[in-house]
Symmetry: D2
Subunit: 381 residues, 4 copies
């Protein structure tokens, strides 16, 4: 008798195909849960696994790590979410895989680098298909059901609609970025990029006290959303094609033309870092929150780009429970068009199209793709 039968979209190999497989899930472990997926956000990381940029990643793999859904089964002892609120089957939750880090060691608590945690729960999760094929799990959200193991996830109950809730991870990334290069009330902030990472960054900049927000991106539909999020000035890279001209415009928008206080890079293109440094005022800070995979080298002069600018350049990769918890509060407060950032909901048999769009096309069904979400059990409200 199969209690928990699930269908998911499995990637077979680097640059390979996605195919729908059936899984027979064991009941949840004590401390674990099973979630009926509503939406799984597609992330640049998925594209990089697909392209083989993630060294030695095992295949076949079930992707999808930005997950929201309905509690379907609770393991023994699971009576509350990770903020202590009671949960029951039927509640909506956002879930975050933590990779089994311990949260108690030198790397986790002193260095704030859980990626270095030596106490990770060993091994990597796998699932078996009904035909007995072992499938590696990286998130596992591109499936009807998501089975989460104890000490490997965090879960928060929420009353948000699924399309808003699926923006949790991108928003937590923006919050992490501004933690590294803080906005002070009154600052001028430039955001490079207006996609699924740049857009929530505009909202967080607005909430953080930026008084002038400049977005350098495109196309027009995204820039309209940026304006709804609080952008004061949008520079459309299709209209203003010269970096020099963009630098001139940005500086013109700052007091006495001295340059911007904070830059956040969210394009994934190495060259935009050079352009971003040119936007900076002396003593300003730039934080790169895109470029999560190698996009090449740029010429860099320690004197020109760091010393003479008194610059502070920072990079982040990944976010922690802290940023997720703050991001959930921000989403629940509302006031920004989060839902509209989810441009597409696609079924699990169209994951390949989503991956393609992330790879550069950025169009699905003839429309510009911003955030694409997989809806394994059909479209949500």
């Amino acid at each position: 008798m199969t209690l928990y039968l699930s269908r998911g979209s499995v990637l077979e190999a680097v640059n390979g195909s996605f195919s729908i497989k059936e899984f027979d899930l064991p009941a949840p472990d004590p401390g674990g849960v099973i979630v009926r997926q509503e939406l799984a956000g597609m992330c640049g990381t998925d594209y990089h696994v697909f392209r083989g940029h993630w060294p030695n990643h095992p295949f076949p793999v079930l992707l999808g790590h930005e997950n929201v859904g309905i509690l379907h089964a609770l393991g023994e002892g699971m009576t509350t979410d990770f903020a202590g609120r009671p949960v029951k089957v039927g509640d909506r939750v956002v879930t975050i895989a933590t990779g089994g880090v311990c949260g108690q060691c030198y790397a986790c608590v002193v260095l704030n680098q859980p990626g270095l945690c030596p106490n990770r729960a060993p091994g990597r999760a796998t699932l078996d298909t009904v035909t007995g094929q072992g499938v590696h799990v990286f998130g596992g959200g591109y499936a009807e059901l998501l089975r989460l193991q104890p000490n490997r996830y965090v879960m928060f109950k929420t009353d948000l609609d699924p399309a808003t809730a699926v923006m949790l991870e991108p928003l937590s990334n923006s919050i992490h970025g501004f933690e590294r290069s803080p906005v002070r009330i009154g600052d001028t902030v430039v955001i490079q990029g207006s996609g699924g990472i740049g857009l929530p960054t505009v909202a967080v900049a607005k909430l953080s006290g930026a008084l002038r927000i400049i977005v350098v991106g495109g196309p027009k539909g995204r820039l309209d959303l940026c304006r709804e999020c609080g952008a004061d000035v949008c520079i459309d890279i299709e209209e203003v094609r010269s970096p020099e001209e963009r630098i001139r415009i940005v500086r013109e928008q700052t007091p006495q033309g001295i340059g911007a206080d904070v830059i956040v890079g969210a394009t994934g293109i190495a060259q935009t870092v050079t352009e971003g440094i040119a936007y900076l005022r002396p003593g300003g800070a730039l934080c790169e929150i895109g470029n999560a995979t190698d996009s090449g080298e740029i010429p860099f002069s320690p004197y020109r780009d760091l010393v003479s600018k008194r610059a502070l350049l920072a990079g982040i990769a990944g976010t922690g429970v802290k940023h997720y918890a703050l991001a959930l509060r921000v989403l629940e407060k509302g006031g920004f068009p989060y839902q509209a950032m989810v441009s597409h909901q696609i079924p699990i048999d169209r994951v390949a199209e989503g991956i393609n769009a992330l790879g550069g096309g950025y169009r699905i069904d003839g429309r510009d793709a911003i955030k694409i979400a997989v809806a394994p059990n059909g479209p949500t409200g």
Copy 2:
């Protein structure tokens, strides 16, 4: 057949007697360990449990939460300490009970207040004596063997001698205090109190860039140790009995008499906070790291003590893994007379004498007691 027989000093009730009981310990759980205790530091908290200041604390109880010892048995899967270093039976370790907090929730990671963690491992540890009596465990270090359960402790391997290692918790407390009221290079720092909390605070102040360290305390032996730790000026409260005179001396030692930059309170006496605020320069900070139990009220004027002083007043209670990990590095670097701070090593059948000394006598065997450590298996080197 009894593999793990241990004798410990059990406190029967509030203000009750301590008696030696025998325990029959189960083998360690997976992820747990058994440690053969070398030293267990005695802490003011123990005294407060004894006196009933800790509301609803269950009895009988086995105290002792500042522990160093030798790994005696390793549970399944225990191959490294919490910094990822390999461990084996026979290694020396410092162990810290974490109270079973999750390290992954809003309270733990956003608020940095693990005391509010809603996901604590349920219940409280108990041990059974060989005659079947249930004994509550608060630390449990005043016994020959210490049995630690998974998800409830942190452990670091060390090559320190036991008397130095047992200073880990007090030192972590000092580090936590300066995290709340940071020392800037060049600051004048006043430490109120020269006992088991004040002394390591002098060392941490020195390491943190304080250029002038003033200690207000006594008696002479402790002040000598303070000087060895880097105190520039020691004010003996038995010689200078007037708070006004002490305030005058402190201010005289600061540039242009403006007052000290940072004060750390480590006396446990409410009135010393009033005196400490009077030491402060405008814009300075005072952190109270003693006063861990109620010592009464003081008159406080928001205008005089906070606004007109532009003061910053902070309090800490408890420390986290972060502070322990940093403290261990500091101990391992050396350069301060940590061993000499441990004034007494006593066997488990003299715990009551230690508790008495903590309650105000501060003398054992005719000598001033600074840090008292219980040595359950005989004195260490």
Copy 3:
């Protein structure tokens, strides 16, 4: 021939009367200016000078230090404001008396305590009336013309309307307060008081990323303005008269009832600090930005109010050019009902009524007074 004849409202003595005097102003010094006053905000400090709370303050005195007006005459070399923008006669400026601090010494730049500056321009400014009476100047804004001396003021050009611009000093105070007890995105902030200090604090809390803002104050008209500034919850102290009940309501509005992250005190009543500490979550921060004069003592327990709460308590007094410059940016961005905070504009011959209202009446012309501004040259748009 008199080039610069000015009439001002002079306070004769402690608790004395205000009378209109005529002044004959010298032409501006090199580096100085003369400003034709539009508005001079009335500040609690004025009331305290009136009541004699300011020790040894000389009389007679011309008060008024929150000034906006039109440049009337420029001293030699004055071609720009302090942000480097060109200025000419006829431009609107906000001006701030700096007390002649040097901005270059240990107190000014290391301690950030210009009040301790040893290099202040010597003496205190005085003006002579046409009949030769010497009048001390504390601000000097309650007069038709304001004469500012080099190295004793800062001036910024602005296009704001005068009623908005006159909120510069209160807003800079709020910004200073949050600098001492920073808001983190997502925080719950409580503001005690809804008057001329509390109201702009609500706006700054909103801009700083507070997601839930609770105001404890009254009466209703002010609370309505607080809601316009972004307050989510207003507790009317006339309706909820019990501190215990107010504490209950505040905590109920926080996640899991743990208490608020940040409290800002803006009432000037000592007892509200006790109430504010009770609102705080463990690890939270309270900053007192009112209580600029002695309002008595409260009972304070270092254990209960500081240590067990892991609290951080801060106080500020005065603001610096930094806060003024940031506040001007915030005002110029708009988005909050600053003008509506200026409840009354009164001519110089009604200064005594304004002082009375500050002393507790808070009513002029039968209406609740929030911020009262003196309009020496007639009401502004």
Copy 4:
């Protein structure tokens, strides 16, 4: 009658010669002073002016901006130093040219970028030789007498010996660097370079709580001084010539080989930034305090060098009064071999030799040059 006749070493042109000229100094202005020079430290900046790297710098010029000497004449009103201590003719002072910045504007106090101050005292100081030639002054310390103009300098009285006092500016630079990339107690710090900038940086790292200090530099004599300052490990670049090998050694010295917490770059060679980033642990910080002039470009990958490392890269140029005031406190505390860092004292007619040494030779009189100081009135004790 000439009251203040002075001889100084004037640089005639880019890459030009230095020649001794006589100056006839006016009496000090009100608020100004004349100092009889004891030592003037030679700085890389002097070399860069010599080589023409400083665009449009006017010639002829009198260099020397790291000055210590004896008060020779006091202008009207000069009764205290900038910390408020009384001064009189005959007192030793360190003096710092501030460039005439105002310390009161948006750039000075909000941005902390006095280099952007729009209110600088206009023009640039010049002196006339006895034959009427106008000479530009950049510091002006390579002369017997130093004439300082009001609002253009800061001065602190000191009892330090001149050779220690002349280390003020380099030390303030190190303090500024660690302000941008703070050391936390327990950190491992790597300092790249062991010359006049690197050496005081070792001392500041030690004072700031670094528990392991690694220096990458040479030659041997300098590394010996580094060890005296607290370096735990010195890597001699003449012995370990391969960057890869140096990276391996640095990482080996860090817990679990994760890399260093903080790197300070003090070599002036662009390529060492690439090497420094490779030393860093994930989440670590690198601050470049050398490279004060263009030393070329390095290949830089935003992904590899910033994002994947979660790195923070910072640069500083110049220091403020704040850093000088702190540095003076540090020097006065003692405990480090500051005097020994001043390897050479040369008379004003050998300035050209000093400049040559700064340009790469680093040898004078057959000995390794670390800090070279010009002694215009003969060698000091």
